[in-house]
Amino acid sequence: MPGQDRNARHRDLAVLACAAALSLGAGMLLWRRATGGHRSDDAPGRAARRLDFGGYQVVGRTVTIAAPRSAVHAPWRDPAQLNRIFGGGLKVRPLSEDRMAWILATPSGEIEVETRLVEERAGEILAWRSVDGSGIDVEAKLQLRDAPAGRGTEVEAHIAWRPPWGLPGHWAARLGGTDPGRLCRQALKRLKMLLETGEIATADNRRDS
């Protein structure tokens, strides 16, 4: 019957479309496997041209510090040192052995982020994750490794954070100078100054200026 023929034709087309989609999918999987998926190079994710990683912004910085890994690790477990290297832009308050409050001053007021230390291996890695209900959803990881030719320690900071208002929130933070990328970059440079010279450079002519 003509109606049955039409149904059969639709079924055949659907089967063909499914087969084509499956072939395309399989082809894409094979291609991604061959090329390493979206990671077609060796650059870290924070250098990627794309801006969105499932709603997260990925930022960070690598700095080489002429000091052993143990010396680079220690300040990250010392709130007084952390407050020094964040230079007032971010303040920390210890809550317990593995919990800490990070208080960020923004143009629209203070934001408090509570984190839990989720991983620590001496001289190798430190990682924090914000707890549920925190002001900002963020994960931060520091990896330490020996720099080549006895140059000290390479510190690689990797931060994934979810800006409160998505991409516009990310740009607002960048313009306001409170984005985690900038805070982390500056903190690593102050840490480098402190460990390499014993002080943090300032052009102020007096403590009260």
Partner: protein
């Protein structure tokens, strides 16, 4: 204290500002006994260097007596010191290699982002030279806070007049490094553009390093005379075609090394310079690179190019073809003052180098604005201005 402050283009004034104090452990406070106006201060005076703010204290050539030290300083109160214009920590990767002006740790973190954006990497800290290099208050003042005082300052013996050693702070090592960067070999002909203080010290250094002949180029008769007195042959670009003259004076080969001791404010009635001047005036160009362009054309094939002259931004019409096709080598940079201080001090004490011949005027700090104006507008007569705060 009294200090020379920048207020805007062609507007500098001596004001009363708060005295400096020890802030960091390695600091020292110096009471300035002599300071000078540098040719590169004129780039600030002319407003062509980005990153200056009204009220900034200028001056990066200064010396004085130590009056106070932090617990990490190796200086002692009462010592006489010449202070390098580059602020260097002495312990980072760059300082450890003697590349003191590339110090990673002397430019405050907050000031680093601008030069990272402009140059790809953060610059080191410099005294009195814009916020790109830290915004450190400078030495045209009664007192200066000197960070990393255990690394920079050169202690000088009593009995040696200030004027003999003052220029160890910048222009003498800058001229020396310019000649060193030209990698001079015996028999070499070396051309030096600019007979300002750095150019003159470059001429002197190149001859000491064994150049067969040094050819100095300028248009101010008095400055050309000073170069000739040092032993250079001279070209007045208002009287002679420079490229042709250089070729003729080097047996048709061209100079083995060329040195641009002029930088971003070239003079001369050349089409490229007129266009650069117009662009600089309306704020769409930073550098007038006429001298560097000419130097690249003048130098012999496979020759060396040294650039002590200050450039700040971008230049177009740049003869990249000549650079590549002629196989040139180019070396440049702010001076690694701390690397040369002791050696040059010794040469001064032994009488091998005289630094006082170029001083034309001595003024009190209170008259610094007059010094700036004349150093800029009457360059033939005003070759170097030394200021005395007391």
């Amino acid at each position: 204290m009294r200090a020379l402050t920048w207020q805007g283009k062609h507007d500098v004034r001596v004001d009363t500002v708060p005295d400096p104090r020890i802030v960091n452990p390695r600091d020292a406070i110096i009471e300035v006994t002599a300071t000078a106006i540098c040719g590169s201060d004129l780039h600030l005076y002319d407003g062509v260097i980005p990153g200056l703010r009204p009220g900034d204290v200028l001056g990066h050539e200064f010396m004085g007596r130590v009056v106070e030290t932090g617990p990490g300083s190796t200086l002692k109160p009462g010592q006489r010191v010449v202070v390098p214009f580059t602020i260097s920590c002495g312990s980072c990767f760059f300082c450890a290699q003697g590349q003191f002006s590339a110090c990673d740790n002397s430019n405050p973190v907050e000031a680093q982002e601008a030069s990272e954006l402009l140059y790809g990497h953060a610059m080191s800290g410099l005294f009195g030279y814009s916020h790109l290099t830290g915004g450190y208050p400078g030495g045209q003042a009664e007192y200066v806070r000197v960070p990393f005082s255990d690394v920079g300052p050169i202690v000088v013996p009593d009995g040696v007049p200030d004027e003999q050693v003052l220029f160890l702070s910048d222009i003498l090592p800058t001229g020396w490094m310019a000649a060193e960067n030209a990698q001079i070999q015996p028999g070499d002909s070396v051309a030096v553009w600019g007979c300002g203080p750095v150019g003159l010290f470059t001429v002197q250094s190149a001859l000491l390093m064994g150049a067969e002949q040094v050819i100095a180029i300028d248009h101010h008769p008095n400055r050309l005379r000073l170069a000739r007195d040092l032993g250079a042959r001279v070209i007045d670009y208002r009287h002679s075609h420079v490229l042709e003259a250089l070729l003729e004076m080097t047996g048709g080969i061209g100079p083995d090394a060329v040195i641009d001791a002029v930088g971003m404010e070239s003079h001369g009635f050349a089409p490229d310079n007129l266009l650069d001047t117009a662009k600089q005036k309306v704020g769409i160009g930073v550098d007038r690179a006429h001298v560097l362009r000419m130097a690249l054309l003048a130098v012999r094939k496979g020759g060396r190019v040294s650039v002590p002259g200050v450039y700040g931004g971008f230049a177009d019409k740049f003869p990249l073809g000549a650079l590549m096709e002629k196989g040139l080598q180019i070396r440049t940079g702010q001076t690694h003052v701390q690397k040369y201080g002791q050696d040059l001090l010794q040469r001064i004490l032994e009488g091998q180098i005289d630094t006082t011949f170029l001083i034309s005027h001595r003024l009190s700090l209170e008259d610094a604005a007059t010094g700036y104006r004349n150093f800029r507008d009457n360059q033939d007569e005003w070759t170097k201005v030394v200021l005395n705060p007391r």
